[in-house]
């Protein structure tokens, strides 16, 4: 496994809510990344945004690991959940709140 993949695995393990996206929390560089930040800000749990905008090798590793071609990519409690397209549909079915509660051990 390449060091990029092990770095990703570490980051995923260290952050209960982790977003790989374009830009930073203060300056998202893409509408979908901004939407994902707003999505999680609503819930009030801490989340991490890792900027991979200019890191093509890491983006390719992420694409391969998740079989998901686009950014942002969201991991919750170590599991991959795609992006807000998925999370919005999960939210409509009331699946996000319990997921975050278990992730943060409530």
């Amino acid at each position: 496994m390449s060091d990029i993949e092990s770095q990703i695995k570490e980051e995923v393990a260290e952050n209960k809510i982790l977003i790989y996206g374009k830009g930073t929390k203060q300056a998202p560089q893409c509408g979908f990344t901004a939407e994902t930040i707003q999505f999680f800000s609503k819930y009030g749990y801490p989340f991490e945004l890792i900027n991979v905008l200019d890191n093509m090798p890491k983006r390719e590793a992420l694409n391969k690991m998740t079989n998901w071609p686009t950014l942002p990519k969201v991991f919750i409690d170590g599991k991959f959940y795609g992006d807000t397209d998925i999370l919005d549909e999960m939210e409509n079915k009331g699946e996000v709140e319990p997921l975050l509660k278990t992730a943060f051990g409530e």
Binding site: G31, F32, P69, I86
Partner: protein, 77 residues
């Protein structure tokens, strides 16, 4: 840029019973919201549904005809 007819055709060519609703988010024919309703989604979980639609769109995403696509999936109830 891709026309809405071509985009709908791209999806229905792969999911024959798909009902496809497309909204052009910016009027520039490259940022879309795409709702796909099909019975094939019945036994597919959310992730699998979105992967299936993404796979269909990949050629048009890679050559730049589509810049961004927001995907929603549903089954005909």
């Amino acid at each position: 840029m891709i026309s809405i007819e071509d985009l709908v055709g791209l999806v229905t060519s792969k999911i024959s019973d798909a009902e496809v609703n497309v909204m052009d988010k910016t009027g520039m024919k490259d940022h879309f919201i795409i709702h796909v309703t099909s019975s094939i989604f019945k036994d597919m979980d959310l992730m699998a549904r979105h992967r299936a639609v993404q796979e269909i769109l990949t050629p048009a995403m890679q050559d730049g005809r589509i810049h961004a696509a927001e995907i929603k999936t549903a089954t005909p109830d």
